[in-house]
Amino acid sequence: MKKPRLVMIGNGMAGVRTVEELLKIAPDRYDITIFGAEPHPNYNRILLSPVLAGEMTVQEIILNELDWYKQNGINLHVGKKVVKIDRVKRLVVAEDGSTEPYDRLLLATGSNPFMLPVPGNDLPGVIGYRDIKDTDEMIEAAKLHKHAVVIGGGLLGLEAANGLKLRGMDVTVVHLGSWLLERQLDEVAGKMLQKSLEDRGLKFLLEKQTEALIQGESGRVAAVRFKDGMQIPADLVVMAAGIRPNYALAESAGIYCNRGIVVNDTMQTYDPKIYAVGECVSHRGIAYGLVAPLFEQAKVAANHLAGYGIGLYTGSVTSTKLKVTGIDLFSAGDYMGGKGTEEIVLNDAAGGVYKKLVIKENKLVGGVLYGDTADGAWYFQLLKDGRDIHDLRDHLLFGQSGGGDAGHQGQNKAALMADSAEVCGCNGVTKGTIVKAIKEKGLFTLDEVKKHTKAASSCGSCAGLVEQILASTIGGAYTPAASAKKPMCGCTEHGHDHVRKAIREQGLTSIPEAMSFLEWKTPNGCEKCRPALNYYMISTWPHAAKDDSQSRFINERVHANIQKDGTFSVVPRMWGGLTTPAELRAIADAAEKYNVPTVKVTGGQRIDLLGVKKEDLPKMWADLNAAGMVSGHAYGKSIRTVKTCVGMEHCRFGTQKSMSMGVKLEKMLFDMYAPHKVKLAVSGCPRNCAEAGIKDVGVIGVDSGYEIYVAGNGGIKTEVAQFLVKVKSDEEVLEYSAAFLQLYREEGHYLDRTCHYVERVGLDYVKSRIVEDEEGRKALYGRLVDSLKDAKDPWAERVAGKQKNEFEVLEA
């Protein structure tokens, strides 16, 4: 059977991205033909500025080589303009008269530079700034001529001016507004930017209206004259006063246009066989000129072209970054503020740093950063997530701070890092390697960088830094997705919250059921989504859902930690860090009997037996069980340990019985499955020898009771626990701790530690659920106790023969 024909007009970033997305999900659905007016394959238009500045070559910015089209069986016509769409016969006509029939048509005609309607705007030497041809022309002009005038002090204009200056021209930027980048910056930041560009030798004429371009004797442009009579010499005039969606072709075919080709949320035009994406489109009255929204559109269009029919494009919040090497500037959302908004401002004119955050009803709605944009990505995430920032307010301006997104050596300013600096300490990836991969392979997302370089793919602590490097390399093209919407993995469009909600509201109790209801794209998921789904099932339906051991990571499947040589480690539980001579004897016996090469005391106050063969595990567990010991769950996304100090039972400073409190907590939480590992500590006095300040739940005894701290972390993201509440009795410690952990179990995303969860929802929210809502707290406590009522020692189950296949080797 013949395949339907998809024809695409326009061979730029938005269009080709749509085709790429389409090939990913429905590789054989269409015979694809692409027409491009330019004589090049798809290239990264955003990087034309570095080409102009001499920092990159045209070859380096090609995204899809001709080979790519060939390999995917795409019929490519470059340098061929389409002049007519015949919607009745369903074919397109190219300028050479050739025709191409279509079943589906995709319009990605991009935009044109806006040429000021002044006399002389068609003179030789007057150009827009849009494509490789324009860039080449500017580079040529810089060799022969001296005076350049750039009309327009927006992003593109400044990047052009910077490039021409670097190429040796004398450059004047003419701008109608009162300050530069008035669509991205407020006046203070705009003036700071102007000053640093002036320091580089650029000249500016603000609030100037161009009246005419004057022809010289050679026939080429020679000067620019303004309305106030002033005239300046110009051998090259670059129009960078904005772009206009290119919809003339669509309009001539009778497709409804209104300052762009009008599309609905599925990127469909008024002709249902015709889709449109990119800068030529008007969606809900907005034509986007930045690449990130266009990629979102591409994804949606591809989904509908593939016949899946899910996914809507509902518009984008955009952020901006200027790609002028050495100038750091970021802006997003409503950066001007005004009625009903509040502003937090830091202005260090001498130091060249300016930060303004605009807040409305306790939410970040916009901001401008100049000079120090390290936290741009974080602010943008807060903005897109619409997170309540009340609890962050006092330190919001100082950024995400802490060790969080600090990379290996505490680095947190991507732009200032040397190429040789290590970004990912786990996999030894340098900044240079990442930048090279981003440029050469045309990477746009954190996931792509992870795949290609391995940076941020192990512990993930450098993910924020990698995002910054992405942002500083590709500028506005980088936009993180809002956390709530971020797909769980490549198998689905749905984010964690959506999946949890569906499981809860639809009563889904098995992984296949959830995958079918939520239209998973893969037959049985992947190593990322299956463990997450398994956790969501069990935590939502503790007694109805059945554990799927094949969706557990090996450590949880065999209740021991896999080591680099394929052997395992065994950690018996020591409640509250307490043990007995009999237990120690049993551990010593087991270590000798099974030739354990290494015996180590862990940070969680127990003993680790390392180097055990998988076949020996059940036998060893049987021996330990016989001595009264159970699994320490040192391998699981589950309760690990409750660390304690000796407390008032022995210590002369102790104010509370921390050991017995710790044992009670650990018994209550035994076998608790969670989004990630959970560690607790109980200290008997504020000297805090049990290090409760860096635990998921830290309890500190004081004379009048206990203080409870939550969401601390001593690992990847060193995070000090935050004060939740002060209570009087042991019973209250159990209730509040359990309620907090149950809240985390119900709302946390799989693999989020409590610190990530609380950072996402805010401590105020946690307090409102745990401290202020007594009934809700008791209900949470009740649900935790209920879900653990059948807790069993997993070792004993395996000793009794459960899934014993797992531990037996076949011979052949």
Binding site: T522, P523, C526, R530, Q550, I554, K564, V809, L810, A812
Partner: protein, 105 residues
């Protein structure tokens, strides 16, 4: 080429899971991982081309397995690593007849 050897029954391998087959070859002992996907059985040398991780302990999804040590993914049909990683684990032919699994060594 040596003969087909009977290994186990299909039911001995958990669905979306695997088992280890120990085999003597050239005087040494090697471990082979046999995988069961939704409907097929595959066998690979139980050694990830990256750092030698035991593939038998990985999560099986689609026709791939993810190594438990550092998350490399391998195609079960060919033993090749999923791009951008590069490497290969030796593949062994497998057949299932009347619910009995055979490997050709």
């Amino acid at each position: 080429m040596s003969d087909w050897k009977q290994v186990c029954t299909l039911e001995d391998i958990p669905r979306l899971g695997s088992r280890v087959v120990r085999h003597e070859e050239d005087g040494g002992v090697i471990d082979i991982a046999i995988f069961r996907t939704q409907g097929e059985v595959f066998a690979l040398r139980n050694k990830c081309p990256h750092k030698g991780g035991p593939l038998s302990e990985g999560i099986v999804h689609g026709k791939q397995v993810t190594c438990p040590l550092h998350g490399w993914k391998l195609y079960l049909e060919t033993g090749e690593a999923v791009a951008p990683d590069v490497g290969c684990a030796r593949r062994y032919p497998v057949k299932v007849e009347d619910g009995v699994v055979f490997i050709q060594f």
